[in-house]
Subunit: 164 residues, 3 copies
């Protein structure tokens, strides 16, 4: 039995950003030497998600693939972008005080939309590994989504492989 | 290879309830002796979900953390609370008859909203275990959510650990 | 340690279709000989999802269980069925050109709703296996959902089991 872990970084922008991390995940699988098992691609960040989707050949002016931009439109309807305190209940006064103790400006707490969007889309995807390959089909790509719009930042993508 | 299982109970209320079960899951990991692998935190109940989110330092009068209350607000928009039969197609007459055969009052079937909300948020989360620790980052907590509003009840939270 | 894989086919219709695949997944578990571990039921198709829900004893005229039809109603509100090009940004001109190169009519690309719905509901479910049984409780059934409404087609359901 092999348990293999790899972390790598992506850099997000101040809009919802979608990173195609398929190549890095496949490299991690090759490094692991695992032929059959399960690959969990995971975000430890609570305003990010991992999703599997088709690659879209067209992008908008911001460089976002159009299918992902359609996803943002849908999410905007369900969970509108947080533009000021009071729009959502979170972050409350105690939360802001706690963050201030960590040296964070209050505005960084106005990412409630990102937290809620990431809950809806989930923290990870689990992908079968068969004969050394990820079962993504012809059209499946792995995206790391960062929904936080209040700041650009480095994020960790985690790959955990269990198999043999 | 180790496969370790632990079940424990939480008690829900007649509003959407969110139980922080991070401590119990970490205890299960310690008991398992697993250092590297995958931890699945799972709900066998089809009106409950498992989610990973940031802890919120503020609560409302019902004791619900504000970020979770924001989540309830969002879900209420998408999947309104079921207040009477006929609001949703489910439960139909055959379903009610089946439940009656189990001694259940018809009103217990008016939890369609809970079933639908739990489908959107998912049945489980899979968390990487590295060097004996759950990869939850600094801010990740594990919540067991019970969306059933028609009765308070005991629920099982299941932890399944695979690793070595 | 055992890693066991099984694929099987289901045939979808030109409406959102929900296949109860619980029996096939249980058969796969029996074939695997695994007593304790994790079972991932997975869709490699990016317009399909795997969900766990209660069985509903009533169906509509199309044969869809009523709880699943309620789910479709909810999804229709969030992600309306794509009825013509331009309703969503995807598929853009490059994507249509790419598909045409594969011999696909442009209308097959009008399944943006299916892609987005499948992202919201997720690609897979992970189910604990304890003493040779899937932990689905009394009421849990496994459904493979195909949201693509532009054509009826054969789909692969994948079962990946890791355990001992």
């Amino acid at each position: 039995m092999t348990v293999f872990n790899k972390k790598f970084k992506v850099k997000s922008d101040r809009i919802p950003t979608f990173h195609d991390v398929s190549k890095q995940v496949k490299e991690a699988l090759n490094e692991s030497g695992v032929n059959n098992g399960i690959c969990v691609v995971y975000s430890q960040h609570t305003s990010c998600s991992v999703i599997i989707q088709e690659y879209c050949h067209d992008r908008n002016y911001w460089g976002t693939e159009l299918l992902m931009q359609d996803l943002v439109t849908i999410l905007e309807k369900i969970v509108p972008t947080c533009r000021t305190e009071g729009q959502y209940l979170h972050p409350g006064p105690e939360h802001i005080k706690f963050a201030a103790g960590n040296g964070e400006p209050a505005s960084w707490g106005l990412n409630t939309d990102a937290h809620l969007r990431s809950v809806i889309l989930g923290r990870s995807e689990s992908i079968p590994i068969i004969e050394g390959k990820l079962e993504l089909g012809e059209f499946g790509f792995i995206y790391f989504a960062d929904f936080d719009q209040v700041r650009d930042r480095e994020r960790f993508v985690m790959v955990q492989i269990v198999g043999e």
